[in-house]
């Protein structure tokens, strides 16, 4: 078993400080905003607002296997089990914070919701706005079924331009364009470094697994736009490069290389990785981790550049785009197959996977679609997963043997 990446410990410390910052904000005279993972946090850093991510909290609870208990608490409040588990975890932690490994989240002063990851978050945040009686800033980014529509671009840009005034009003501060540009530059740099980290997995054996990436992506989700995130990903990239130079792999021996589509099954991250590793299979890439490599171009109009970048994120694009990206990831990482996690909590990610899988299979790329849930461990059939994954790996090995 290879040693853990040194960056993992640093990341835990960073994330701990991130969660503490929310609780300490009031003492420091700072405001707290909840925001969705696809919202432009760079604007908030500019005005010194502490960003808090309920989705990230959902992932943390998922990893800790606290998701089921928190979802149940939300269901007792009237939230249906069919709703996204992040959403239910968030509501559950409001009535049962003791069940959250980090004690829930500090209350927000306002909310920023962007629908570029799904429309579910809009309903979720509307409910939060009613509960806390705080303002909700909505950023509406039209889904891109094909090429970008110029009118959609203008619409999103108009909202991003107005966001500066909204935040100035909500914080009572004049808009600091210099700090905004600095945050945007940090964000761009962190994203580029994150992309470099992911690209290191083109090496054989790959220096990290996608399961590592799922954990290590915490700062790019929650802390992009900060110098800390840049420093963290620079250190991680250097560590990964060192591993590559020593030909150290996350899985040894590495016989099968797989790509993962959709959010991880947080509560099964370790068991699934271990199960695969025992069989010589490594998850070398994931579409979800790659989503945070999308970044703004440099521009005099930083707000417009960010608008363009946030509008073209992975989940705001059609199946054709997603299929092309998966093919690129498979090609660039020399992957042998794709595991599609059909995630009952994420309808936009999951509806269409069957079609993408069918097209990849037609071109000889082995695929399997597995049903589960990202954070509610009650919706996971362990035996079924193991049996199907095992059969999938055997099929790939058989095919690979023939090719080799």
């Amino acid at each position: 078993m290879r040693e853990r990446l040194g960056a993992t410990a640093l990341m835990k410390e960073l994330m701990l400080r991130h969660f503490q910052a929310g609780w300490l904000a009031r003492e420091q005279g700072r405001k707290v905003a909840y925001l969705t993972s696809g919202a432009p946090v760079e604007f908030l850093h500019a005005v010194g607002v502490v960003p808090v991510y309920p989705e990230n909290h959902g992932a943390v609870c998922g990893v800790a296997r606290a998701g089921g208990a928190l979802c149940r608490a939300a269901e007792e409040r009237g939230y249906r089990r069919e709703l996204c588990s992040y959403w239910r975890i968030d509501w559950g932690a409001r009535t049962a914070p003791d069940k959250s490994p980090i004690g829930g989240l500090p209350p927000p002063d306002f909310l920023v919701c962007a629908n570029n990851i799904c429309r579910t978050v809009v309903k979720w945040y509307e409910g939060l706005a009613r509960f806390y009686r705080v303002p909700l800033v909505l950023l509406d980014m039209p889904f891109r079924h094909g090429d970008e529509e110029p009118a959609a671009r203008a619409y999103v840009r108009a909202q991003f331009h107005e966001l500066r005034g909204d935040l100035a009003r909500l914080t009572g501060k004049a808009w600091p364009e210099d700090r905004f540009r600095e945050a945007a530059a940090f964000s761009r740099e962190a994203s580029a470094l994150w992309e470099e980290c992911l690209a290191e997995n083109a090496a054989r054996p790959s220096p990290a697994s996608a399961a590592d990436h799922f954990i290590l992506m915490g700062p790019i989700v929650t802390m992009r736009g900060t110098a800390e995130a840049v420093a963290f990903y620079r250190a991680l990239r250097d560590e990964l490069r060192a591993r590559v130079s020593r030909a150290e792999g996350a899985v040894e021996p590495e016989r099968i290389r797989l790509v993962w589509d959709n959010l991880p099954v947080w509560h099964q991250l370790k068991p699934i990785s271990a199960f695969l590793a025992e069989r010589g299979a490594a998850l070398v890439g994931a579409t979800y981790t790659r989503a945070w490599t999308e970044r703004a171009d440099t521009s005099d109009d930083e707000a417009a550049a960010l608008a363009d970048a946030y509008a073209r994120v992975w989940l705001n694009s059609g199946i054709g785009h997603r299929e092309r990206v998966i093919r690129n990831v498979v090609g660039s990482l020399s992957a042998d197959g794709v595991v599609f996690h059909s995630n009952r909590s994420c309808k936009p990610y999951s509806f269409g996977q069957e079609e993408i899988a069918a097209r990849l299979k037609a071109d000889g790329i082995p695929c399997i679609v597995m049903e589960g849930d990202m954070a509610d461990e009650r919706d996971f059939a362990d035996a079924g997963w193991r049996t199907r994954l095992e059969a999938f790996l055997e099929t790939i090995e058989g095919e690979g043997g023939k090719k080799r």
Binding site: R77, G78, Y79, R80, E82, L83, C84, W87, N115, C118, R119, T120, V122, K123, W124, E126, G127, A129, R130, L136, L138, D140, P142, F143, H145, E149, P150, A151, A152, A154, Y155, R157, A158, Q159, H161, E162, G318, I319, G320, E323, S342, R344, K347, P348, S350, F351, G352, E354, E355, I356, R359, E371
Partner: protein
Amino acid sequence: MTATHPSADEAIRYAGAVRDDPAGAVRHWKALSGRKAVGCFPLYLPEEILCAAGMLPVTLWGDEFPGAPPANVPPFLCSVVRGAFASIRGGRWDAIDAWAVPSTCDSIQNSVEVLKAGGEGRPLFPLVFPLSGDLPGAPEYLLDRIEAFAGWAEEVSGRAVSEGALEKAIAASNEDRRAFARLEERMAESPGSVTAVEFALLARAGSLVPKETHSAMLRAVVARGGSGERRPRARVFLAGMMAADGVAAALDGAGAAVVGNDLGRGRRYYEGLARESGDAAVALVRRHLSRMPCSTLHWAGDARIDSLFGRVAACGADRLLLLRIRQCEPEAGDEPDIAARARERGIPFLAVDADPGTRGADASLAVRVGAFVEMGE
């Protein structure tokens, strides 16, 4: 039904016939008119554009073919999308010439992508509308989308969407909306004068027949005398996406009267007039951006819940029945706050799973609805 002035019985019979053979109704219209039909996913599309291009908008609610074999789609999709895919992939909608899909929710929005990726060869138009009229640039963006939709409709139909044709289509749609509003008024003023089954049939028929025909059907039922009226055991307000046949029958069976609704296939679909003068495309933009609060659009604060309970009070309802479609996230998201408000106001409230076509569910639904109606008698 071809009569311009049908009797109420004829109108209801025709609505039933359309329910029983929706594709047949579309084929019949196509044979008579020699024109095309566009399948629309719910909820909000500027159908006037399609009508102005000489086409028939046909809205799929997923319950048109209850016996259609299931399609290969994930189990966590709602019955609207699953039903639509089952009927499309099962070849039940061969009479449809093209598809228009609005950005109602994640599942419906993705439907256009999945149809395309699955090899659907008919023309498809995804209409992504702004979530709120309050956002900067929303009117300009929607105007662009409506104009693009008109361009697509012209291509599909081979007919120009002229300003005059659009004005005519707006007038016909407005007339239908006014007629539906009169039906709702009648149901509130004379509880029981229109049964729940009749209401459900009429609401559904508007998704399947030309606006002029539907207006005539509604007018006939509104004009019907009140001799058959009875004193209802409960005055029920229906919230949710749609009243499927089973729940409507259960309400009638329990002796309840529907006096108001907030249904997707009901008030939300029919509400709001477009201006009949000035730029027609701008009129469609304004109509969409001033819609009543709906779970599929964005409203700040309590707007939707206030609006819902305002209408519950205005129609004199003494109960609120929420008809749930499982896996409908927009509706499920509002449900806890609707339930809480009903408790605060002391309004009897029940949420029931009322997915159409769920085998064996009608009996249990009837028992639950019956018990709800008996409450507080």
